[in-house]
Amino acid sequence: MTLGLHLAVVAALAALQFVLPAFHHGMLARIMVLAAYAVGYNVLLGYTGLMSLGHAMFFAAGMYGVGLTIQHWGFGIAAASVAGVAGAIVTAGAVGVVTLRTAGPAFLIVTMMLAQAFYLATLYFNTVTFGDQGFILPALEIGIGGRMFSLADPSVKYNVALVVFAVCLLATLWLVRSPVGRVLVALRENDERTRLLGYHTGRYRLVAVIVSGLISGLAGVTYTLLFSYVGSTFAGVLYSIYPLLWTLLGGAGTTLGPLVGTLLMTYAIDVASGITDAYLIVVGAALVLTILWAPAGVVGGIRARWARWLP
């Protein structure tokens, strides 16, 4: 039933591309990539109970990994994507080793500090990264089964985004129902008891940080390939706050929450930015209202009331 539900969601997203008008078609492609980012964030916040305020560095590590290797060294898409994901894994590993030395609220502060250092580094080394202005990648093409597809084509964009999102979603579904995932949830619920049961909690936490960083980095790689732009904005603090908000709003610790949260919030910001320049006030208001009135999020609320079986 659970797997069926997730497959149905993916199938529904696949079917939507044939009925949506152009604007929403493009929006949804972007939302699916960002939702994959939120799915990565949720592994850490929702299933391991660690709140990070620095995920932008994993997203941006993927982004710069793929973008810089194409820009400076002329890598092909496959090699550049591997470089991007590898960059995110290395970043997450290093960040994990440092931050997990600390306990409690220090984790969040240190992730934010490190992410900000990463952001400042993208500005400081602007001869390589082009800093704030960023750079635009040339038109990219991928070959599947001997045919070439341009990534600038909207329906190619949509389907690449769909595949990446579906892989991330199903992978986390598998992860959280696997023995490793159960240990992570145990860590979230009661760290000391898990340690008493003989689990090496530090090692499991590190694995969670790396998996979360990997998925976030993969989302960053995909975003770069589909939208052909790399810039330091994506390493900034806002892009660390976004996945937190998407995950919380949709429901932390639910597999489908990140998609729901990203969907709602991206449209809310789109509407608000048509009304005022200070549209980020929507982000602030959503954070405060969610935590005051719906701390379990949308999917979390549905699970508590009607569907206890939701993973």
């Binding site: 709140m51 969040l108 580094a121 937190l244 320049d277 549209y279 006030i281 602030g284």
Partner: protein, 288 residues
């Protein structure tokens, strides 16, 4: 300029930023110590202090009035936030972090809507130049460093000698025992949050004549305060002040000799290294 005088200039800049940083970070540290919460909106309070200073100085023409008005206004905003948001969620650590991030964006965007995206200076209330032979130094900055040091001393005295200080320290050490001894813990929380916001607002006000008021200026203040409280050890006021001196001096020196961006990168990596060796910072308590 020769290297010697250049280094002297860098050190003087370092002392000024260290003293302001100590004041800013002390507010954050006090709030964490007493309430066990991380206030992510702390940088926004700093920014709000600077903005209020600009408004009051612009309308009344008096910087001194602004210097008094800023901490009061920001303290009231903090108290309001405590009553409307933090108390209803019961100061649960993670919810509080999320709520204060929300607060950060609300304050920032409201300032953007009203004050606008400008960077505006306020004239210093007095101007004199200290001539050191190799270069002249702004007398205002020297007074600012002295004023910040004085405020730190006053806060220290208030914490160690007054009844309110006793309440704050008692709540910090053990909330339940404090309550059992009739310390009004709920009110102490609100006061701590207000005082924390007020302290950083003074730092924000003092810096406007040097740095201009802008709606995004809080982020650097937040980042440096975070670095300081982590390096000093979460919950230790003494650690905060010592770490502020270290971070402020090195930030000032590297900023003058190289670049402000590089200074912040180095400070962060240095703190990450310290954490690798000693997870609870310089003066932190044993992890519970």
């Amino acid at each position: 300029m020769a290297f010697g005088p250049h280094l002297l200039l860098a050190l003087m800049e370092g002392v000024v930023s260290a003293s302001l940083l100590a004041l800013t970070a002390l507010g954050l540290s006090l709030v964490f110590g007493v309430m066990r919460i991380v206030n992510v909106a702390h940088g926004a309070f700093f920014m709000l202090g600077a903005i209020v200073t600009w408004y009051v100085a612009d309308l009344s023409g008096s910087f001194w009035l602004a210097l008094v008005a800023a901490p009061i206004a920001v303290g009231l905003v903090a108290i309001l936030a405590d009553r409307l948001v933090l108390r209803p969620i019961g100061y649960e650590p993670e919810s509080t972090i999320v709520a204060t991030i929300g607060l950060l964006y609300i304050l920032e965007q409201v300032v953007l809507m009203t004050y606008g995206p400008y960077a505006r200076p306020v004239a210093a209330p007095f101007y004199f130049r200290i001539d050191l032979g190799w270069f002249g130094y702004s007398g205002y900055k020297v007074i600012v460093a002295a004023a910040a040091a004085l405020l730190l001393a006053v806060t220290w005295l208030a914490l160690s000698r007054t009844t309110l200080g006793l309440y704050l320290r008692a709540t910090q050490q053990d909330r339940e025992i404090a309550q059992a001894f009739a310390v009004p813990v709920g009110r102490v929380y609100t006061i701590a949050f207000g005082v924390g916001g007020g302290l950083t607002a003074i730092a924000g006000a003092l810096i406007v004549p040097v740095q201009q008021a802008h709606y995004l200026m809080g982020l650097d203040a937040l980042l440096l305060s975070f670095i300081v409280v982590i390096l000093g050890g979460l919950g230790s006021l003494r650690g905060t002040v010592v770490a502020a001196l270290i971070v402020g001096l090195s930030d000032g020196v590297v900023s003058v000799l190289f670049s402000p961006t590089l200074a912040k990168i180095i400070a962060t990596l240095a703190v990450a290294f310290v954490l690798g060796v000693r997870g609870r910072g310089l003066f932190g308590e044993e992890a519970a």
